[in-house]
């Protein structure tokens, strides 16, 4: 300690911390403040970097066709991520989104094909089922006061069992749908924009995010959702009927899962009770990478859209480079960890 090279050594621990803080109020602290103000910038920067890197490394990556294909591939999970974001903004989590989606697609398919209901009616029934599933989650969270994690861990299994029961574990084939219920495959239909090929499923995903962006940023309901997630007790004290807000969030999430279900039938081509087994975790991944805080109340709804695209870009890029599948898992894993670490760091900013 005596021959320390530092010309002006701090005299005690308190001084040390103070000078350390002072040193950080340089460019790094500036960045921290900037990101605190604009949390969506983190995923946007990552997305741009990833696009540039894979564009340079992976053959055929940087074409309008491939980029639009990535959009097609993330459309279903992206739509689910929109539902997941709503719940996570209230400091909750919904493990049942994937199961609600698959269950809904099975309801739509069975009613339209096996029971011969008019297809629009079958779709409406499916949407009603999805909304009801959300209501069940909401009731358990607001009335029984169960933690959202436990609630949706339970309903995930329940919805999965119902899916297997209703589907008889059998796929409804693409050709059958073409013949009897082509409307169910609506969101799989393609159209060209230049050399890019998009599906209506991509449009649906963008529309859902646009609608949520408007609702969350320009309506009283949106402000309440953020308030409930930021601090439940303060929100109550401010006169917000928090249970009603939570109910509406879980129901809206259920309905969005219903839309995702319709979209998934178009994407997969058939009604498949075994597809999308990990969609719930993939949606959480997109939300987290998109910079929405798992502690609720912070983050932009557009983040998860970027988050879903980032995962899609990594998977596509690594695949085109011919990298083994396990490295896709590896990369996604680190993306999650880095995203949460950055979130924690940004939260430390003093306002």
């Amino acid at each position: 300690m005596t021959d320390r090279p530092d010309p002006a050594p701090p005299r005690d621990a308190a001084d040390a911390v103070a000078s350390f803080d002072l040193a950080r109020r340089g460019p790094l602290a500036g960045l921290q403040h900037f990101l605190h103000l604009y949390p969506t910038m983190v995923p946007i920067i990552v997305l741009v970097l990833a696009l540039a890197a894979f564009g340079a490394l992976a053959p055929n990556f940087f074409s309008a066709f491939n980029l639009s294909l990535i959009a097609q591939q993330v459309a279903v999970v992206g739509t689910l991520a929109a539902a997941q974001s709503l719940v996570i903004l209230t400091a909750g989590i919904d493990l049942s989104v994937g199961a609600i989606m698959v269950l809904t697609s099975v309801i739509m398919g069975r009613l339209a094909v096996d029971l011969g209901l008019p297809v629009p009616l079958a779709i409406l029934c499916g949407m009603a089922g999805a909304g009801l599933a959300g209501v069940v989650n909401g009731l358990l969270v607001t009335r029984l006061r169960l933690p959202p994690f436990i609630t949706t861990l339970g309903t995930w299994n329940v919805f999965l069992a119902l899916n297997y029961y209703l589907s008889g574990r059998n796929t409804i084939r693409s050709q059958t749908l073409d013949a009897e219920a082509p409307l169910l495959k609506l969101f799989g239909a393609r159209f060209n924009v230049g050399s890019a090929v998009l599906t209506w499923g991509v449009v649906l995903m963008l529309a859902v995010f646009a609608l949520l962006y408007y609702l969350l940023n320009h309506t009283a309901w949106g402000r309440r959702v953020y308030a409930v997630g930021d601090d439940l007790e303060s929100a109550k004290l401010a006169g917000i009927r928090t249970d009603r807000v939570l109910m509406s969030v879980y129901m809206a999430a259920g309905l969005i899962c219903g839309l995702a279900a319709w979209s998934s039938i178009g994407r997969v081509g058939s009604v498949s009770p075994t597809s999308f087994q990990e969609a719930n975790l993939e949606s959480i991944t997109a939300v987290v990478i998109g910079g929405i805080s798992l502690f609720g109340g912070r983050g932009s709804i557009l983040g998860p859209l970027i988050g879903a695209l980032i995962v899609g870009v990594f998977n596509s890029g690594l695949r085109l480079m011919g990298v083994d599948v396990l490295w896709q898992l590896f990369a996604t894993g680190w993306l999650i960890i880095v995203a949460v670490a950055i979130d924690q760091w940004i939260r430390k900013v003093s306002s």
């Binding site: 574990r169 498949s272 596509s316 011919g322 083994d324 599948v325």
Partner: protein
């Protein structure tokens, strides 16, 4: 002793009495499947139940909650041993870990038959009744080669496999197909070590439609000239077909698959899949019950098929476009024997 303890003791005694009574009244057997979700295992259960009824045997069935649920299977093994059954049939989720419980069962004089999935090592069980998955792959490989004729020399092949952990069925079907197609597979226990430029790549599908579609899209991005697609099972094949359709290539590509489930055979009929190797879960289970009955009668154990270390329950190539030198059955025959 508290009241609850008393009740528990009483219940336990009753259960024991009933258990022993059942074992004495009729020979009993256990069937433990990976899950009861997959139509394949549902069919297996049906086959076992029908044969058991015919032979006047009692059948208990158990299943894991999801594929890979070893814990539930181990508990089921213990229950079966405790119940004093004559034989246990199991499709193991963890083919190595289950061998410990299997040894306990065999020590207790129970005949243990592995169905569909061989244990590791194979001789951990008394017998294995399974599809020859290598042969299943070889058949569709040989068919695709014959169908293409001279063009096979310049084929571009996409390999749609099961998953990253590559269980033995995954490897055997993949390698069998390549072997049948005339690709030098190098190490038969490893996927993807071949050096043949005709193979564009291997991708995982999780054996479902969604995975099949994404995997096919990825490989088409790598090489749009793909004209032969191998798929681990028929749902993956249906997904691959959707991807091909969206690329406008569904008519230029030959898709082959393995399983023989009813939706899959229907896809052969509709021309989505060119040919599929059909396996027979019902037969595995009913032959298993027969073997247990024979063992209960005079202690005879089932013999493995010639040249194999398991009893081959058969596999047939289902297609309406037969190729010279590759035996096949018609779609009509395949439909009559399909499962699910």
């Amino acid at each position: 002793m508290t009241r609850t303890q008393l009740i528990r003791a009483a219940l336990a005694t009753t259960a024991l009495t009933f258990g022993a009574g059942a074992a004495m009244a009729a020979d009993s057997a256990c069937l433990i499947t990976k899950t009861d979700i997959n139509p394949f295992f549902v069919k297996m259960k049906e086959g076992a139940a029908a044969k058991a009824q015919e032979l006047g045997m009692e059948l208990m069935t158990y299943a894991g909650k999801v594929d890979g649920d070893h814990e539930s299977q181990q508990q089921a093994m213990e229950s079966c041993i405790a119940a004093g059954v004559k034989g246990i049939m199991i499709t193991a989720s963890d083919t190595k870990a289950i061998t410990e419980s299997v040894r306990q069962a065999r020590d207790a004089g129970i005949l243990v038959i592995a169905l569909d999935t061989p244990l590791e090592p194979v001789d951990a069980a008394d017998a294995t009744f399974a599809t020859d998955n290598y042969e299943a792959g070889r058949l569709i490989g040989a068919w695709a080669k014959g169908k293409l004729g001279d063009a096979a020399a310049n084929a571009k092949i996409a390999m749609l496999d099961l998953n990253e952990s590559a269980p033995s069925v995954d490897v055997m079907r993949d390698q069998g197909f390549l072997d049948g197609f005339g690709v030098d597979v190098k190490d038969k226990t490893r996927i993807g070590d071949e050096e043949d430029p005709r193979v564009v790549g291997h991708e995982s599908t999780s054996g479902n439609e969604e995975g099949g579609r994404s995997a096919m899209e990825a490989l088409l991005q790598k090489d749009p000239a793909i004209n032969v697609v191998y798929t681990i099972n028929e749902p993956a094949a249906a997904g691959a077909y959707e991807a091909l359709k969206s690329f406008g290539k569904e008519n230029d590509v030959l898709i082959v698959s393995v399983d023989g489930g009813c939706p899959g055979v229907e896809n052969v009929k509709d021309g989505v899949i060119g040919a599929t190797s059909q396996q027979y879960p019902l037969l595995m289970a009913s032959q298993g019950i027969e073997a247990i009955a024979a063992f209960a009668k005079d202690g005879t154990k089932p013999q493995a098929s010639q040249g194999l270390d398991f009893t081959n329950t058969g596999v047939n190539l289902v297609t309406d476009q037969p190729v010279d030198g590759v035996a096949s059955i018609s779609v009509a025959d395949g439909t009559a024997q399909c499962w699910g």
